[in-house]
């Protein structure tokens, strides 16, 4: 029987799995694109290095001058990797949340991550001007997790947390936080507000290796965990009665999946600000490439999210050399037209 699957079995390990036939090609292509953009992004910036200079600096050849090495390894590389990792985290979190709630508008925003992080950061930027900028990721992370916890606790019920309840409570609380944020933006000192706005839009400007080291463990733990729970997401997509009939422990799965999404998006938002849009769009694009099964969807969406933020950051440096344009803006600018094109072309939408 002809199959759309590639099947893999290693009997001596008791391991077996199957993936959609399209997935390996798509993932390899995306990896290739990511690699190309990483190189472009480290080489080509506000002052473009010549190819040989850049290669020498990139591989730390002895003949390269130390200024170039500084530009490539201290300024550009960490920021580029931060963009990639943040995009991957948000893409995965969005996929998990859309699968969990079965709602195509779901994004990290609905579990309050963005609203909580924004409020916490704007509050500290506007009201605590002495706080060092280096402390903002921690503030954002705490804010986002507090918000997610508040939403979950309010939505929680003795019996179960239904996705509808979660969505509605999420809307309510997020809007409160958003309203308070806009109040602060309306009345705070204009210089502080301007600074806060850059953070709100999302930017990887000035990220260093410290940020990467802080972000990596979160992605390293929770993206694989999302893959482990991919089959639970597939079963959940059949609706609650069928999922229960298949023996899924719905309450446990939902809690774990929510935790995964909160950790991934919280860590990402802490690093780069609220680039919320990636979590919304990456799963949709990925579904069009590899279909609805989550084991294939998660890596695809992660790479697409990473590629999107990475490209946006690079382009914002190349296209707007004089101002520091936050990459969150270009992320939307790049993603939306392509997505709309796909949407209009789609025969089933």
């Amino acid at each position: 029987m002809a199959s759309n699957w590639i099947e893999m079995r290693w009997h001596w390990l008791s391991v077996s799995l199957r993936v959609d036939r399209r997935a390996p090609t798509v993932v390899m292509c995306l990896l290739g694109l990511v690699a190309v953009v990483i190189v472009l992004s480290t080489v080509w910036g506000t002052d473009t290095l010549s190819l040989s200079d850049a290669t020498q600096a990139l591989f730390r050849l002895s003949s390269s001058n130390s200024a170039n090495q500084f530009v490539v390894w201290t300024l550009r590389m960490p920021r580029t990797l931060a963009a990639l990792l943040v995009g991957m985290g948000l893409g995965t979190a969005g996929t998990v949340l859309q699968g969990l709630t079965r709602n195509p508008l779901a994004a990290p925003g609905i579990i309050g991550i963005n609203a909580g992080a924004s409020l916490a950061v704007v509050l500290s930027i506007v009201l605590l001007p002495t706080l060092p900028v280096g402390g903002l990721p921690l503030v954002a992370f705490v804010g986002s997790l507090l918000m997610a916890a508040a939403i979950y606790m309010l939505a929680w019920d003795r019996l179960h947390t239904s996705p509808v309840r979660l969505i509605l409570i999420g809307i309510g609380l997020s809007l409160v936080a958003a309203a308070l944020t806009s109040l602060l933006l309306a009345f705070g000192g204009i210089n502080r507000v301007s600074l806060a706005l850059v953070w709100l839009v999302g930017s990887v400007y000035g990220r260093n290796w410290g940020h990467i080291v802080a972000l990596l463990p979160w992605l390293g733990v929770f993206i694989p965990l999302a893959l482990v729970f991919a089959q639970d997401l597939n079963v959940l997509s059949l609706g609650e009665p069928a999922a229960r009939g298949l023996g899924l422990r719905i309450q446990r799965s939902r809690t774990v999946l929510l935790l995964i999404a909160a950790a991934l998006s919280g860590a990402s938002v802490a690093t780069a600000g609220t680039i919320g849009f990636v979590g919304l769009i990456a799963p949709h694009l990925a579904r069009r490439l590899v279909g609805p099964a989550h084991f294939e969807l998660i890596p695809t969406a992660a790479l697409l999210g990473g590629l999107l933020v990475l490209t946006a950051d690079w382009l914002s440096r190349v296209l707007f050399p004089s101002v520091e344009m936050p990459c969150g803006i270009l992320t939307v600018g790049l993603g939306v037209p392509y997505f709309l094109y796909l949407l209009v072309r789609s025969p089933t939408a």
Binding site: E7, S14, S16, V235, R249, R287, F295, T348
Partner: protein, 272 residues
């Protein structure tokens, strides 16, 4: 119940009370489902058939009483253990956009998979077998969105088959299907029952099809069991009048000898 005296019932409800929010649908109900037979629940809309099926399949937890699966309380078993014994096909289930028939059927293997063994040889064989039994192997790479109602229903049944459970619970497996596809689905279930010795419990609306295909009919009215037994024994004009409030004649099928119900009209003196 004479049949069950010598064998343990597969599913048994003891003083089961089921409720939505605070309103009891079924009260204090006792019921035994005998193994390797087709049992059909019939009754008016809203009489509690689907609720009973949800209760028996632990989709709805009881307010009182309990359900026993092979003698063990179903609520004390892990949901995964139950899923290896009981396949459930809910009414009009959801499915994600773009899923193929084979991917859907493969989800039926979920209770038997773990994180490392997510696609064993056995999984593949069972899925292929389920596709063959439901005659869907030519459509296995089609998307569910592009199938007809009958094919889609067969895909759901194939998923339940891939689950490889001795017992299947189906809520109105023939809804939205024309007569030919209804017969097709019911023939398939009969075949599964006779050749694979599966126990089947289902809800059906068509009384004549219920008589034709079931070993045991359980008639419900207002959340209580009015009669149960083989179609020949229990289907009488009096019973039909009692459960459906219609007057009817009962004929016997010249070929099978099974009862056929011909409705004559609403019961004349309906309590208004």
């Amino acid at each position: 119940m004479s049949q069950s005296s010598h064998q343990l019932p597969v599913l048994e409800a003891r003083s089961l009370t089921l409720a939505y929010q605070k309103f009891p649908i079924l009260k204090d109900l006792d019921l035994s489902i005998v193994g390797k037979r087709i049992t059909t629940l019939v009754g008016q809309n809203g009489c509690g058939k689907s609720t009973l099926l949800s209760g028996l399949s632990r989709l709805l937890s009881p307010q009182n009483g309990s359900v026993f699966l092979n003698g063990t309380s179903i609520h004390s078993l892990s949901t995964r253990t139950v899923a290896k014994q009981l396949g459930v096909l809910p009414q009009s289930p959801a499915y994600p956009e773009g899923i193929t028939v084979k991917s859907l059927v493969a989800l039926g293997r979920y209770p038997r998979q773990n994180w490392l063994q997510s696609w064993s040889q056995e999984d593949e064989e069972m899925v292929n077998q389920a596709l063959h039994t439901t005659r869907l192997h030519d459509l296995s790479d089609y998307q569910l969105d592009n199938l007809s109602g009958g094919q889609r229903q067969r895909a759901w049944i194939a998923m339940a088959l891939a689950q490889d459970t001795p017992t299947l619970l189906l809520d109105e497996p023939t809804t939205y299907l024309d007569i030919a596809h209804q017969i097709e689905i019911l023939d398939l279930l009969k075949e599964l029952n006779e050749e694979c010795e599966r126990t089947i419990v289902m809800v059906l609306h068509d009384l004549n099809l219920a008589c034709r295909y079931s070993n045991i009919i359980i008639a419900l009215k207002e959340g209580a069991i009015v009669a149960q037994g083989s179609p020949k024994d229990i289907i009488t004009p009096t019973l039909i009048e009692q459960i459906f409030d219609i007057s009817c004649s009962i004929l016997n099928d010249p070929e099978t000898g099974l009862p056929i119900c011909i409705p004559r009209g609403r019961k004349p003196n309906l309590d208004l």
